[in-house]
Symmetry: C2
Subunit: 497 residues, 2 copies
């Protein structure tokens, strides 16, 4: 807003951040959102709209003149909400939940309020330092070794998503290797993971120039719980080395997307480290459980790896998007990603007395996301966060018991965290194609009711229903009702068989 300009004839006065108006409208929005949360169960959890529903109903151009907040909120109710798949619904059991909380929301409000662009320390000292503090706090909650902490010899950073955590560590590993083997040898570098690893791994590899021919997604089996076998890894690495290739990077998953399989960190790191590979642990979902002592053993061996990522937006109530990445050797990351343009130079950065997080990530600009984690950790305390994990796991156990108690259903892989992998398998003589068809029909029917949303996967050739417990508002009664609905669908379906 500029007063001289805005007093010119025909130029209306315009202040888009008038504190009085902000206060009034933001209070209105708080009530709108609180009402949404209160009524969330009244909406179909999976949106029932058809493709193009919204594009067809909105104007093709932005309005020339202002519209009121009331008009816009009416449109949110009538046009947006019907097209939402309600991730916050307590009846959302699809994918992995993306959890939120009041504290996370308040932290996000503060982050938006400051809107600081903390690319380097001076541009926002509090943003950089608070991030260093909370990432150490979370490392401590996970009992990570000091080698991953700023309090020790490593450090961490908030990325947007796991994809970026993998991307930047892969680049650090690649550049380190090319320094040794020469920049013309990119085609010799080979990366390893299991066939259960998230698809973002192969995508990141392709992004950084690793040929798809050099991406080894080692097959897993149902007997081994879809976990990556150190023996098979060793065989693959040795075969590649015999072919004159260079093992570069191993992605170990703690809690795969399909079935929450856990790769054995210690044994796999043992194999990889013999050959100087960078080992990354993708603990996006299940890593959060390791703040509870009873799950911490899944991280055993983490002291041997190079990097670890975990997304608090999945299970630690932070809301999207917030992925914590720890590295043992920040120098490798910074060497690969640093820039030093004149327009960002400043005394503190040049004195090496500070961390400039732009050199730990893809982009330059970055938000003050650590506020969310700070508010969550302080508002709830570690004890309640542990309780929250245990409560979700407890509800998944209840669902698992329901499944086991009905002979028409089966648990496909053992449950470890909040995800139950099951299927309808009423008659072994039906054959796998027909059994898959039954499960597809059951899933479609359940989701079409709008009362529950689940998704599926396919592992070891088996079509599996995934029931992921953990939406923030989910309580026992929702799990009980979901099971009742699934049984109702199965009853109807099996009558027609």
């Amino acid at each position: 807003m500029g007063r001289i300009e805005s007093n010119l004839p025909n130029t209306p006065h315009f202040n888009p951040l008038n504190p009085r108006e902000f206060r009034k409208q933001a209070h209105e929005m708080v009530d709108f959102i609180a009402d949404y949360y209160q009524n969330i169960e009244s909406y179909p959890v999976l949106s029932q709209v058809q493709p193009g529903y919204l594009r067809a109903s909105l104007p093709q151009k932005a309005p020339s003149l202002p519209e009121s907040l009331e008009t816009i909120l009416e449109d949110v109710k009538n046009q947006i909400i019907p097209g939402m798949t309600h991730w916050l619904s307590p009846n959302f059991f699809a994918f992995f939940p993306s959890t939120v909380s009041t504290a996370g929301f308040l932290g996000e409000m503060l982050c938006t309020c400051f809107n600081s662009v903390g690319f380097n320390w001076i541009a926002s000292p509090a943003a950089t330092e608070l991030e260093m503090v909370v990432i150490d706090w979370l490392a401590d909650m996970l009992k990570l070794p000091k080698s991953f902490m700023f309090q020790g010899t490593g450090g961490g950073v908030i990325q947007n998503t796991t994809s970026e955590a993998i991307l930047v560590t892969l680049i650090a590993a690649r550049d380190k290797a090319l320094d040794v083997y020469g920049s013309g040898n990119l085609n010799k570098l080979v990366v390893y993971a299991s066939d259960q690893t998230h698809s973002t791994f192969a995508k990141a590899c392709k992004m950084v120039g690793i040929s798809p021919r050099n991406i080894r997604l080692i097959p897993t089996t149902i007997d081994a719980g879809f976990s990556l076998s150190p023996v098979q890894l060793k065989a693959a690495v040795e075969a590649d080395m015999a072919d004159g290739l260079v093992p570069l990077y191993l992605c170990v998953t703690l809690g795969t997307t399909s079935t929450t399989a856990v790769d054995p960190i210690e044994l796999l790191a043992g194999v990889a480290k013999e050959h100087g590979m960078w080992v990354h642990v993708d603990a996006a979902y299940a890593g959060s459980a390791c703040i509870c002592p009873e799950f911490r053993h899944h991280l055993n061996g983490v002291e041997r790896v190079d990097s670890l990522s975990l997304s608090p937006h999945k299970w630690l109530l932070s809301g999207l998007d917030c992925c914590c990445l720890w590295v043992k050797n920040p120098t490798a990351l910074v060497k690969a990603l640093s820039t030093n343009p004149e327009y960002l130079r400043n005394k503190q950065s040049e004195s090496d007395s500070v961390v400039d997080f732009k050199d730990w990530q893809v982009g330059t600009g970055r938000r003050f996301k650590s506020l969310r984690l700070w508010l969550i950790f302080r508002t709830y305390g570690v004890v309640n966060l542990q309780g929250h994990i245990r409560s979700d796991v407890g509800m998944a156990k209840i669902f698992e018991e329901f499944v086991r108690s009905d002979p028409r259903f089966e648990i496909v892989v053992p449950r470890e965290f909040g995800l139950v992998c099951f299927r309808l398998n009423p008659d072994e003589t039906f054959g796998s194609d027909y059994t898959e068809l039954l499960n597809r029909k059951l899933l479609d029917w359940v989701n079409s009711t709008g009362r529950v949303y689940m998704t599926h996967t396919k592992v070891g050739g088996i079509y599996v229903l995934r029931f992921a417990v953990g939406a923030t508002l989910t309580a026992d009664n929702h799990v009980v009702a979901a099971w009742k609905l699934i049984k109702e669908g199965a009853d109807a379906l099996l009558k027609t068989v």
Copy 2:
């Protein structure tokens, strides 16, 4: 929260998203933030803390037990705010401003409220479709050809930052080229930009495996306004081709970071297209001005390029982070970035009737950011957004006139948008080193007062002070006061000479 679990002895009841509590605490936070905006001028705009100030004062571990919102907000006041460089202060003239607005804030609140993870259409139909609508709206405001619009044959997507927009288009271009030239020829691909191009360009190139040897940052001169010369581009391309190299990608900048230089899109695209290169326009900051007819000519020739990015968080009031990327050929992008894991398969995606934005970006998960733009465009209307751009430019003109009116100062490069590049140059006999020292001292002093924050750059060997007008709350009186302060600094400094 799980009721059975939470009723166990010793497990306190825990609901981190109780709507009543949410409503109460979010209202408190609104007032806290509105107060911050009201008092923002009372804080030093550039934080005056020393490295380590916060880390030293916070506990080394997260608390076990909950703390109250009141305690936390006290800490925000006493520990965080002193360490903030206040990007929203009306006295912030550093870098490029990152603008916000009430409407953008409310849109962000809604985005956080839904917390939908719109990786594909079905996971959040409204999020995908609203993004398609608003990105077409902005294309229309910029008078982009239909070939960049979903209403036409192209389309757009919201990335986090320009870095990602460059990264993904570069990958699309690279993979298209390697399909033609063979995957072993990565080392033959050459990219072009000017030496004024943002450092993120060279970083993105290195990330995707382009050798630094193959990155041509063509020198610019003050006489040509630091704009990339089509003649020099042509010469560089031809020299590379004579060496058996393959021209891949040209990054054209509309409004460089140092001085807002504008590269001539039409002429440069002419050269690049003769050789089949991908042409990207980085219009991060100045692109927004093109919603005003009087600035639109800077986009002339855009119909010949392949992609264009522009960050509404810079000048269109959206807050971080929001970068719009348009592409003429979405297929190339999707081919390079798509994944199709079983756990994300669904009828709508397989029928090709919908857009799945995960295939247009680095990561999988993504937030419902289009809500911010939708609220901004509707709440203010195009007319007010144009007025806002003009008002900022008007204030920059006022500052430019102040500089021109004082013979001790000079404008280093002509001003086109909201950035004024100037320096103290009281005596040509001082020599360039001494003049630079004077300007460094002046900048340090101005920033040390906490009353104004400016930054610097160096172009054509000249150390330049950058005065970037456009923080949302800035009005004429702040520009007037800033100039008065700068003059006061110069007076004192020159007395000692």
